[in-house]
Amino acid sequence: MTTSRKRFTAPQRLLHWLMAICILSMLFIGVGMVSTVTPRYLTLVQIHKPLGIAILVLALIRLTLRFIYKAPALPPDLPEPIKLAAELSQYAFYALMIGMPLIGWGMLSAASYPVVLFGGVHLPSILPVSPSLHTLLWRAHYYLAFAFFACILMHIAAILFHKLIRDDGVFEAMAPVFSRNQPK
């Protein structure tokens, strides 16, 4: 699943950075909204639902692009355990980007809440109303959110490691603009 290109294609890079903003916002909105009883709660919930669906759509587009354009190869001198971690982290990110919105949607369905996107526009229910399903999905949504954030922290640490310590072109492969440090 690799390409001889040194960088991800422009649409892939655009999606990466757009989704980075969306997902980080989403995680902060999520932990913030469940911690408050102020009117901010409603505002945050109203953003959380459509933003989650937007992330789901973007993630599916991104996965399609990934199959079409593939990814640049990792530096050949990268130690095997790091290579493995890098590959596994990509599976984890795709699973979370697609899974979290679906779990959230399913959780609301199982609780008989309408999934309102905006105004009168809402999504159909995807699961039967069930306390046990709701509980399972709610817990998954809650714990996976922290796992997602932990993955992002590791991702940031890893890319800074590539850029600042190894300077091996991995950052440039996804950098939003062409930087002076061309991948070698």
Partner: protein
Amino acid sequence: MVQSSASPKSFRLGPVVIIAVVVGVAAIAFAYTAGWLSPHRLTPKKVVAALAPPGGPALGHRRNHAKGICFTGTFEANGDGSALSKAPVFVRGQYPVVGRFNLGTADPNAADAMVRVRGIGIRITTPDGQEWRSAMIDAPIFPVSTPQGFYELLTASASKDPDAMKKFIAAHPEFITFLGWAKSAPWTGSYAEERYNSLDSFLFVDGSGAKHPIRWSLVPAAQPVSVPPDELTKRGPDFLEQEITQRVAASPQRWSVIVTVANPGDPTADPNKAWPADRRTVEVGTLTVQQIEPERDGPCLNINFDPTVLPSGITTSDDPFPAARSAAYSRSYNSRTAEASYYPGTTTGAKQ
């Protein structure tokens, strides 16, 4: 960033510090947002915990208004609400309703005669799938003016300090108006004889986009008959549920849905303040309760009557309560659905 010049060639401290700082700052920002660094933040968790009786919450039940009975019925809109709100629910027609009569207590086994506040939750669904959920009570005003005040009321009521309530009232004199109602208002012998009030203010948005601050009430068709509390005590712990079951089986019970429109300057942000009695009212339709069902396996059991589930055409106002209620109801719902196995096999099983 200055890189450490003292480090050996093979290991530079600077980049490691940068990485640690970036990750650390992100983690702290996350923890702050989650409220972990703000012990004084009023969280849904705190509010819901404060509702629990001394022995802990009744597992599997709603954390407040824990005792209740389901019903199904209809809302028949007469079309007059459409002048104020574009919500489809006000278009002349009949829409299905799932609801729940309930008592304002955290104890699902409370004796009906002991609970001052009675309530109703309704969910009206229109064919396009939009929902209007509302949870109302029979008091004409809310006990306090702010969610923080409500939390303080709960903590004062549960406090062992004999002066706790005195201190609370000194800080929240608006509670005295509510106490006046609680002490003097007549009691009735039926859920069907109660008037239920939204108390909270919402905004109706009409077809032109204009917003109208409003409150709504369910006004019973049944004539309220005042019954002394001593007399109610003799009717047994579940007399309200038995009475409404028999009454609805005999004939459907009706309420007029009345919308009260605020005048400019009326207090919309404070459900403790009633609006003057001369405000314009619009009857928008009739709620008919057609069938009563026990809560266990009943159609209302797994519904959260979250007052912020609103159709397009109704929105929240500057009243801070619907948001606070939504946050707390959600927490209650998450807890009780996770405890569903604790919900008794039959609603009255323990007592039979």
